[in-house]
Every structure is written in C-alpha cells, then in structure tokens.
Amino acid sequence: EAGVAQSPRYKIIEKRQSVAFWCNPISGHATLYWYQQILGQGPKLLIQFQNNGVVDDSQLPKDRFSAERLKGVDSTLKIQPAKLEDSAVYLCASSPRAVAGGRDTQYFGPGTRLTVL
C-alpha cells in the first residue's frame, strides 16, 4: 500500500511570508496528525484529526498556524506569517482507526523541511 505522501519536501521562505504544506494519508486511515520536529528534538504534536473533526489542537499556535482536513482525507497545514523559530521539519502521520492516538500505530510521511530566513 502507498505510504503517507507529503509535499513539498523542502521549502525556504523569509520571515513574515506564508507557507502551506500538504499531506495525503494512507487510504482509509481515519486519524491524521501534524507534528513539528525541531532539529535535535522529538516530534511535537500540533494537531490531530479524526476523520474531518479536530481531536486536539492544544499545541497549535493558532495566531499563525491553521490546518484543515477536507472530506476526511487530505490535509493542509498553513503558517502565516512565518517566524524564524518555525524552522523545523513538519511531519504528517496517519493511523487506521478513529481511536485514541496513542493506542494505534502511526505511519509517518517523509516530512517537509522548512527553513525560515
């Protein structure tokens, strides 16, 4: 089966610009996650969707970050405006069931490496 797809793989922007990332989860997976991974750290959950509803977005900086999952399939994550500290890898993951995220295996995409200058 095809894995989680993400695009673009790399993005370089200047601070205060906008950027959007796209994720296509594994077909049929109910739950989708966006993580931020700063160099040298583990991934930090930004937002979790079950189907097209938000389960948790407590760590999403909502003044600049937004995410949506249309029709419970693809998802986009947007940053507007970007700050220097947003430089990181943004990982998308999906899991098969609409259950608590920690109780299911998560399948990760390759990530988008964002550099903010």
């Binding site: 995220g101 998560q106 399948y107 390759p110």
Partner: protein
C-alpha cells in the same frame, strides 16, 4: 512538553554488537511505543508495549517496560549498519490518551 527522555543521547557501536537505550517518563501511561527515524526521513513504528506487558520481542528488537520505575528499554541485537538511525520512545499518558508524547531520541551509529 516531552514526556519521555531517552538515554544515552548518542551511542556508537561496532557492527554485530548489541545496542541498548533507555526511556524514562514522568506520568502513568497506557502504552509506550518505539519509533526509528533514518536521517532525513519520517518515523517508522517498531514496537508498541502496553502498560500491563513487561517484555515484547520483534525480530532483533527486545523492549522491556517497568511501570514501577517509569522506564523502558530497547535492545537491538547483532546490530547492522542499516540500524544507524535515531530511536524515539513515545508515551500515551493516562488521561491524555489521544496523543503521543515523544522524547528527544537516541542517535545510534553502527560502525562497519
């Protein structure tokens, strides 16, 4: 906040040797998972161990869980160059079981 902390931060071993890394966490958990991340790639799930389990095996991997000490270990036996990667533990804390909290990882280098 990061629930799990891996130890050591980095590990260098010779091919064929065993590699052991540890994860400590702070609060009660439902499950603990281990993931591997090769350089520039996404994470790959290795093992999930539930709070009522003490040990699990998968191929050359052995995971133990000691809930009384709030710690877990991952053992990779007979390491190969392809095992070079970062390894992360992720916990599913009781009361926050909708999400995983990842540690900062252990970077393992296997020398040929």
């Amino acid at each position: 906040s990061q629930q799990g902390e891996e130890d050591p931060q980095a590990l260098s071993i010779q091919e064929g040797e065993n590699a052991t890394m540890n994860c400590s966490y702070k609060t009660s958990i439902n499950n603990l998972q281990w993931y591997r991340q090769n350089s520039g790639r996404g994470l790959v799930h290795l093992i999930l161990i539930r709070s009522n389990e003490r040990e699990k095996h998968s191929g050359r991997l052995r995971v133990t869980l000691d809930t009384s000490k709030k710690s877990s270990s991952l053992l990779i036996t007979a390491s190969r160059a392809a095992d070079t990667a970062s390894y992360f533990c992720a916990t599913d804390a009781t009361g926050e079981d909708y999400k995983l909290s990842f540690g900062a990882g252990t970077t393992v280098t296997v020398r040929a």
